[in-house]
Each structure stands twice: as C-alpha cells, then as structure tokens.
Homo-oligomer: 273 residues x 2
C-alpha cells in the first residue's frame, strides 16, 4: 500500500484510527477462555465490530510472545483473518525491532513474507544498515521510532541538548525512504512538538500512539500534526479493546471506536479543505 | 546467575566465549532437513559438541521468528535443552527489545518466565521505563545496547558531538541496575573504545559481538576491555556454527571453538593475576 491509497482509505472511512491489538490473556473476558484460541477469538470479535471505522490495526508482538509458540500462532491467525477479510486495512507489526543487516533480513522475512504485515515499527539506535533491509520490500513500510509516548523518552530522545536525538533521527533517516515507505512514531503526549517535526518532514505519515490510556489529546495531534493528506494514523489500544469485560465487549469497543471516528471526521473536515 | 558465578564458570572453563545460535534454515547442512525439527537438531548437535568450551549461548530471535510459530517452538526446545542439560550455561536472548513499561512486562514474561533465559538484549532508545521491567527479576540480566558492531553505529551512537550517545546511554543507565544484573553490548569492531568505556563502568560485564565474520580482534578486546574478574563475554556466531556444511559440521564447530578457547585461556592468564 502506498501513501495515496492510505489517504484514499482515510477519506472513504472518514477515520485515521489505528486500533492496537495488545491482547492480554489476563485482561480479556473470562467467557472467552473456553475457546481453543481465546486470543484469536477476542481479536476476531474486535475486528468484526470495528473494521469499518478504522483504517489500521496494530498488534504489539510482546502480547503474543508472552504465550510462546501458541501466542505466535494466534498472531499469525489474526494477520490472516485481517488480510483475507479486509485487504484495505493497513496492518502494522508493532515489534520495535532493530539489529545488524544480516539479522534484519530475517525479521523482514518474518513480518513481510511469512506474515503479510504492511509495516513494522523499528528502533533507530543501530542506524541505517539496521533499517534498510525492511525498505527493500515494495509497498511495505518502516515506522521508525522518533519521539515515543512514554515518560522516559526524555532520557535520550530529547534531553535539551543543542540537537535533540529525535531530531537527529528524523533528519538523518528521512532520506533512507520516501513518503511511501517511511513513517515515524511520534507520541500524542508530545503533541506540541509535532509542529516542529512537520517542518522537517512535511509529507511523511506519522503513527501517533498515546491517546486514551496514556492521556494525549486527539485535537492537539490534528492541530499540530495533520497535513493536507492527513498524514496521521492515531492509535488507541487499551481504552478501545478493554472498554468492557463482559461477553458483550465487542459492542462496547465499537461504541468507543465510533466516538473516536466522529471526532476524527470533524477534524478531517476542519483541517483538510 | 550473578556476576561472581559467571566469573567462576569462566575460570573453571578457561573460556569467556558466548556462541551465537543464529540458526538459519537455509544455511544448515542439507542432511538435517529430513528431521522433524531441523533447527533444534542443528542446535542440539552444536551444543553437545561445544558446551564444555563456552560459558554462554545466545540465540538471536530473528532467526527463529522467520519461521513463525514453528521457529518459536524450535527456540523453546533449544532453551529447554540447554537449561536441562547444562544449567551452568548463561543463556542470552538476543532480542533487542524495547517498548513502554506495560509492554516490556510482557517481553520479560516471554523470555524470563515462559522461557528460562538468564538475560535479554535491550535497545535503550525509549529510556529507563522501557528497561526497568526486565530488572525486577532476581538473577536475570539486561544487556543494554551501547556501541554496536555494525557500520551504521556511527549514525547515532557516536557522531563526534561533544558527548556521544553511547556514552550518555552508559552513564545514565549504569545506576538502573548493578554489576549483577546489567551488562552492555560493545562491538569488538570498536575495541579501542573499550578503554574509555571501562573508565565509566569498570565493573559491569560487557557482551562483545563482532569477532569472526565481522572482523574484530579478540586480543584487542581483552587488552582494552578485560577487568580483574574478566568482565567479558565475547560472542561469535557464524564463523563457529557454519564452520562446515557436511553432516560432520559439529566436529568442525568444536575445532573452531577449541581454537578460540585456547586463545582465551592465554588471554585470561595474561590479564588476570
């Protein structure tokens, strides 16, 4: 998928929402535990209830890995389900990988070939040769960590030195890919920094986590970060998928998603003429 | 395992070698492919042939993930095999994970509870709260990326600004753990920088990749990086495990390991009085 198709989907659905499938076996409704694969069953019901109101899903690999090979199987089934039923969905592996080139070739194979993800989140610490292997795949994306939503982002990413690390990361890496295969993670909890980031990368899409459970503001994100082709995927995970804990959880998730979608529709109308 | 036990093992075996189990289905001897689990069979034979000459093994997760759930199962079996047969081996998950705290709890569960790894490599980009969850486990270790062995380490880790990022990472993070649960990755390809790093962290163990296929020198690593309790785990992967491609591969791997062990024995005698 290229950036134009992604923007078309956003306009069609009037939503730039990404739903984080951070599915924790200890948090899903008890009623699902009798299923052979409770994690997949949970995801399936969330996907069935929300796919028309969002443009992307983002499973975080940690939640699947905590269950070992079995969890990995639930992830593979989830990816297959989304790509078969809803091929227009932009599917992100929130894996935050990053290793030497030889090793990143293996990660690329894992997420882009064996599983049909459209994108993977990558940590920039090891530099260009740790990122490039992912960019050799046509229509596949790297989403590079720039400014993350957690408190400790201040430890290294912006420490008020002359040039903050996150700025260096964005400035240096922007030529490694294009607006059609390189996106950046910028936390909603740092919305005011989006204005400055947009000066460095006016055209790249940004993946914005941190609204909902982490407290970021959606209208601030749109105000400072939206460009004339939207340029934003805003993610919410816990506040959507754990909106309710009964067997009727998916209906409650849809309600939560519909609220966000309504807000996003307004923001799109307001900012994109 | 604490640092004292690790040093005892090093003295006993006269080796500070870590063997990287970067087992690639496309590189192992053809003769193994008839096995039900060729990856595990390969690892088993390497382990049987080398365990008395090394103190640590380090599977890199990418090589297992490229095979999906099946690969994850091979990894689980490898971990079980090592921990059952050779409990004195220090077992490292080369996973280079790093995420918000809530998510890192899941990774810690995956690698320290479900699988019995002693240590995990972690990327520092997201800061303290992305590292701390791993440090809450007794006798388990974080091995934090500091100065990696790849060429692009220069992009962000040392870019000749006033304070290089790798120095900031080490200086800031050294108080997050102790010499008994916090180790650093420093590439052998940057051996001359070890002298300076030892001034910041005289006592922490260092995991040193990059000898062998990547070209780093073992004697330089010992010269600049060894402390009076060794303080080094030197890793080699490809040059050991792919020393030969016939059904007799394990014998050739042992020969390669024995050469390294002899060199290490000399260096230990030379540097530790």
């Amino acid at each position: 998928m290229n950036s134009e198709t992604l923007f078309e989907n956003i306009k069609k659905k009037k939503s730039f929402l990404c739903i984080g499938l951070d599915t924790d076996i200890n948090k899903i409704p008890q009623s699902l535990l009798a299923n052979q694969d409770p994690i997949f069953e949970f995801n399936k019901q969330i996907i069935d209830a929300t796919h028309d109101l969002c443009v992307a899903y983002k499973p975080n690999t940690a939640f699947y890995e905590q269950l070992g090979a079995k969890g990995w199987l639930s992830l593979e089934k989830t990816v297959d389900y989304i790509k078969t039923k809803h091929p227009d969905i932009f599917l992100i592996a929130d894996a935050k990988r990053g290793d030497i080139g030889n090793t990143c070739n293996m990660y690329a194979k894992a997420f882009f070939e064996n599983m049909k993800f459209d994108a993977i989140t990558v940590a920039p610490y090891m530099g260009e040769d740790s990122v490039k292997p992912f960019l050799t795949y046509k229509d596949k994306w790297v989403i590079l960590l720039a400014l993350t939503s957690n408190n400790s982002a201040k430890d290294f990413q912006f420490d008020n030195t002359e040039t903050n690390l996150y700025e260096k990361v964005i400035s240096k890496s922007k030529s490694w890919g294009t607006k059609d295969n390189l996106m950046y993670v910028v936390g909603a909890t740092k919305a005011e920094m989006l204005e400055y980031i947009r000066k460095i990368i006016p055209d790249n899409f940004l993946l914005v986590p941190g609204i909902g459970a982490q407290g970021g503001s959606l209208s601030d994100v749109a105000k400072y970060g939206m460009n004339n082709k939207c340029g934003l995927l805003v993610n919410s995970s816990r506040s959507i998928i754990y909106a309710d804990n009964t067997s009727d959880f998916a209906t409650h998730s849809r309600k939560k998603v519909a609220e966000l979608k309504t807000e996003m529709e307004k923001l799109l109308a307001e900012h994109i003429k």
